[in-house]
């Protein structure tokens, strides 16, 4: 099994250069990257099997349950209303 897995000096320098650029930019304007992260996270789709399970919400979240009312209203479709 190979034990020496070092990258070349050029590769290391390139990584350092890119990381410095990135970190400097992030330090100058952290909010910009937090916003980008938030936007990215909000676009990511949840896993389908988790979505199929009931939502768990923090206590105190106000919820209204009018499912039955809505289903009854939709059922009226069949009655031609």
């Amino acid at each position: 099994m190979a034990k020496n897995l070092k990258v070349s000096d050029d590769d290391k320098k390139e990584i350092e250069r890119l990381f410095k650029d990135g970190l400097d930019a992030a330090l100058k304007n952290p909010k910009k990257f937090w916003d980008a992260q938030r936007e990215r996270e909000s676009k990511m789709k949840p896993y389908s099997k988790l979505s199929a399970k009931p939502l768990v919400l923090p206590k105190g979240t106000k919820r209204e349950n009018v499912t039955e009312q809505m289903n009854n209203l939709l059922a009226d479709l069949g009655k031609g209303k």
Binding site: G22, L23, Q37, R38, Y47, L55
Partner: protein, 455 residues
Amino acid sequence: MADLDKLLSEARDLLREPEATPLAQITEEARDLVEKSFRVGTIRKWKGVEFQKQADQTWAKVALGRAKAAIPKAPPPKAPKKAAPDASKAPKKAAEPPPTKAPKAAAAAPAAAPSAQKAPEKPQKAPAPAAPKAKAKTTHFDPDPAHDGNGDGVADAARVGVPGDVVPPPPGVPRLPNLNDTERAIESKFADTFEENADDMANEFLKHAEKENWVFETDAAKSLMPEWTRSDLPPDEKGKPIHPERAVARALFNTALHQTANAVAKKAFLKRLDQIEKLPEDQRKVLVTSGGVAGGKGSALRAKPELARSVAATWDAAGEQNATENPWVMKECLKRKIKPVFLFVSADPKVTWPGAVERAKGIGRMVDARVFADSYAHGAKNFKAFHDKHKDEATFVFAQVQKGEAAFANGMDPAALSVDADELYKHASEYIDSKKADLPDYIHQGATAGRRIWG
């Protein structure tokens, strides 16, 4: 009314039954089609009342003027079918052993493998297979973040996530102690579903990582949870504050979701390593970042996408893991002849903690103060030990933040090694308490959850 009638008519056309179908059946099928045709978030007006489609396919009444959507009451979550006895059988924190001299008797790596479950103080009980509903006794995951059971110089586990050398399942995802009911429900939902669908969920996360230039980060895996993304709410817009309900969920659920998110990310990362193994030698490189929470690792990667593109994958370690995963990454890279570059960012935690609080206002996610403190105190020591052991085998980069800019050094910043976890935790706690009146409640709760979880 006219819209719904039109939809029903179109649905009937689509069915195109050759024989006459009873009206009641068409109604049921058409209703299903109509229901499914509405996307989550759609608002429909029905008899003067506005309803909004929810993620669980039900409809909920909304206030006039389209105030935030109300969510139907969810039925209580089912109890887990079986509580995996392996899930969190970490030996409880020993009575303050010295950081480098943990007694062998308590030295079993926490939740590392079924064979390592023999904590001397607790007999193990496997659930009887013939009685699937029998609830096995579970112990919670509460490792000593300084404990080094295998003597490699790097602690075996952080307080959160999975142990450094472990990629569940097996064993099961370790469960945190002292969660409140809601946290426990959400932890269980995520962990149980992962344990039942580990490969599938990892593949899902792998797809996400590919879109992110093959960057794997634990926090991103939390977005697999609908309670985190809250796609039932309007999406967050650039330049505007995060939706308040989303912010609350992220601050309050961050710790409870971390265990499984870490497991998902690790499993997906291994899949990517398997892919990299097949690449030409000059492409077989990965970047592994370490450093304290909110130190800038993740932001640096986002700010410079060319960095992630310069390697085949990036393990952007969560600061919360205290750099305990590096031995695992090294081992997996060695197996596959992949070259890892281990990069550590050191920063002043007294500067980054206010930054983390500020960040929470923007992204919602708030890290607990205890976990934050550990990430600086233990992270630096673990990384140094790892470097000392492997400096001739892999490439190491030491970055520091000096006067607001990145600089490089040949070794670990001495200041990073002198951070004391308890002192920093005290400082971070006092800071967050001093800001309590100025902060949304959920940020303070997220930052202080550790007082309840770990005491």
